[in-house]
């Protein structure tokens, strides 16, 4: 606690949420500043890379948080809770727009693509587009698990809490998603092996 006020940047998410429930506007702003990029990126990944839709969902999520802060369960980590809320919002969006997106994906498949070059020199932009395309074809739970794990870098345990399932289920989803994507994206199969030392240590 600072002498002339609270240093919100040093407070934990859960403590900030306590202050938000009491009506502390600065605490709410601190939470927004802390999570808006990650949540926007998550929505962007989950919602077919639609930036406008991702922004709308981000605004909706924080508006819900502002209007009903009591809905937050203090016994859960805030990050887990907020991503579970975001995931539920994405599921609802999937129910509404799955038909439209399937049609759009079908149209995109007809576009001629430049063959990617495998290995280290792969075009990352092209890879991301293909990955998003393939992710859109996945089951929403598998896609959300994949995005949380590899884009948001969330621990397995938090993902499991967010989904309300076991850690084994999360690991299994990740494994079979990787296997399926590797099968569908053979064009990016490395001709050259990934050099030693480039692989990063992952969080358990």
């Amino acid at each position: 606690m600072a002498l002339f006020g609270t240093e919100y940047g040093k407070l934990g998410d859960e403590r900030l949420m306590e202050l938000v429930v009491r009506g502390d506007e600065k605490a709410f702003a601190a939470l927004y500043d802390r999570y808006h990029r990650r949540l926007l990126s998550y929505f962007h990944r989950m919602l077919w890379s639609d930036r406008e839709m991702a922004q709308d969902f981000l605004q909706d999520l924080f508006t819900k948080l502002a209007t009903r802060p009591q809905s937050y369960d203090p016994s859960r980590p805030f990050q887990t809770w907020v991503f579970s809320v975001a995931n539920n919002m994405c599921k609802n969006a999937y129910r509404h727009e799955v038909v439209v997106r399937e049609a759009a994906a079908h149209l995109r498949n007809g576009v001629d693509r430049e063959e990617a070059v495998g290995g280290i020199g792969v075009d990352r932009e092209h890879f991301r587009d293909r990955l998003d395309e393939e992710l859109d074809k996945l089951d929403p739970d598998h896609k959300a698990t994949f995005v949380m794990r590899f884009h948001e870098d969330m621990p397995i345990k938090e993902i499991a809490t967010a989904f309300g399932c076991s850690e084994g289920t999360v690991k299994s989803r990740i494994f079979y998603t990787l296997k399926k994507l590797a099968e569908r994206m053979k064009e990016f199969a490395p001709n050259a092996l990934i050099p030693h030392g480039t692989a990063r240590t992952i969080r358990p």
């Binding site: 009506g23 506007e25 605004q59 508006t63 502002a66």
Partner: protein, 314 residues
């Protein structure tokens, strides 16, 4: 030292991230080959995992627009402030819109507030005039004197009980006729008579029961009759203890007698039967004929001959 690790297929992510296929230990390789077709699939998955992990510089490159933050914070503020403040803010915004305030021309700034306040004043004046002209004139004023009810409801036992009882002990001594009409007899002969004014009680009762139905003459007659009737009893019971009669007891003892009741009175006070005779003369009906023998017997008792005969026989 030999490693004894047990892998689950879910743990293969760590192997993919950390080791190439050639770097796997025999146990790890055996485990991988149980869940994958071979080296190629392992390397494909490893490469995919490598590329799907974004770099730090790639993460969070998407920035939301400023309007998102503004809207979110506005929603939070709106949720926190009371509703009446929102209402007042809307009123203020209606009276002085931001666009008008920002205008350099004075008329643009003032015409809307002036119109709003003028309209409000006009509405208030119109409302006051309408109330004065077409308002409810029957509504009594605050200090208006209400008329007494002319036809009160007949007195009930409850109403009678509501008649204020006189303060027997502290009431001032009755004077004049009131003393004569008093039915209270002092407990001790030497003590002054208790200032119980039963007639006042009767009068109050009569007033509460309705002044229009009370025959004041009958009341006075009743008082006189009661004096005559009680006098011998008082003499015969001189020295006896009489308790003061309360208002409730007085009500049970007597009531205001009307003319019709007097005409049918069978007590000794009506021994002469004068009232009954007068009534009979006025209305010679079957009812009177039925009551005539009784009146005749009273008149016989009045004759001195018969009285002497009865006295001698007694």
């Amino acid at each position: 030292m030999e490693r004894h690790e047990r892998y689950d297929p879910e743990d293969i992510e760590s192997l993919l991230s950390e080791r190439a296929f050639d770097e796997l230990l025999p146990d790890e390789r055996a485990f991988v080959l149980r869940h994958m077709s071979g080296r190629d699939e392992y390397e494909r998955m490893r490469a995919l995992l490598h590329y799907v992990r974004p770099d730090e510089r790639e993460r969070g490159t998407i920035e939301p627009e400023d309007r998102v933050r503004r809207n979110v914070m506005a929603a939070f503020r709106a949720q926190q402030q009371p509703q009446w403040r929102i209402w007042l803010n809307s009123i203020a915004l209606w009276l002085a819109p931001q666009k008008a305030v920002a205008s350099p021309l004075w008329w643009d700034r003032l015409w809307r507030p002036a119109l709003a306040f003028g309209s409000l004043a006009l509405l208030i004046v119109a409302g006051v005039v309408a109330v004065q002209q077409f308002g409810d004139t029957d509504t009594p004023a605050l200090a208006e004197l209400k008329q007494e009810e002319k036809a009160p409801a007949p007195a009930t036992a409850k109403d009678e009980a509501a008649v204020p009882e006189p303060q027997l002990d502290d009431a001032p001594a009755a004077s004049g006729v009131e003393t004569e009409r008093s039915m209270a007899i002092p407990a001790q002969a030497t003590e002054p008579p208790a200032p119980v004014r039963e007639m006042e009680v009767a009068d109050r009762y009569a007033e509460s029961a309705g002044a229009a139905t009370v025959n004041t003459e009958a009341t006075e007659d009743f008082a006189a009759i009661m004096d005559v009737a009680l006098e011998p009893d008082m003499k015969s019971q001189s020295g006896a203890t009489f308790q003061s009669i309360t208002a409730e007891q007085a009500e049970s003892l007597y009531h205001v007698v009307t003319a019709n009741e007097l005409s049918r009175n069978m007590s000794t006070t009506n021994a002469l039967g004068e009232v009954a005779m007068k009534e009979a003369a006025k209305t010679p009906s079957r009812k009177y004929k039925a009551a005539q023998p009784m009146a005749t017997s009273r008149s016989m008792a009045d004759s001195p001959g018969i009285l002497d005969l009865v006295a001698s026989g007694w």
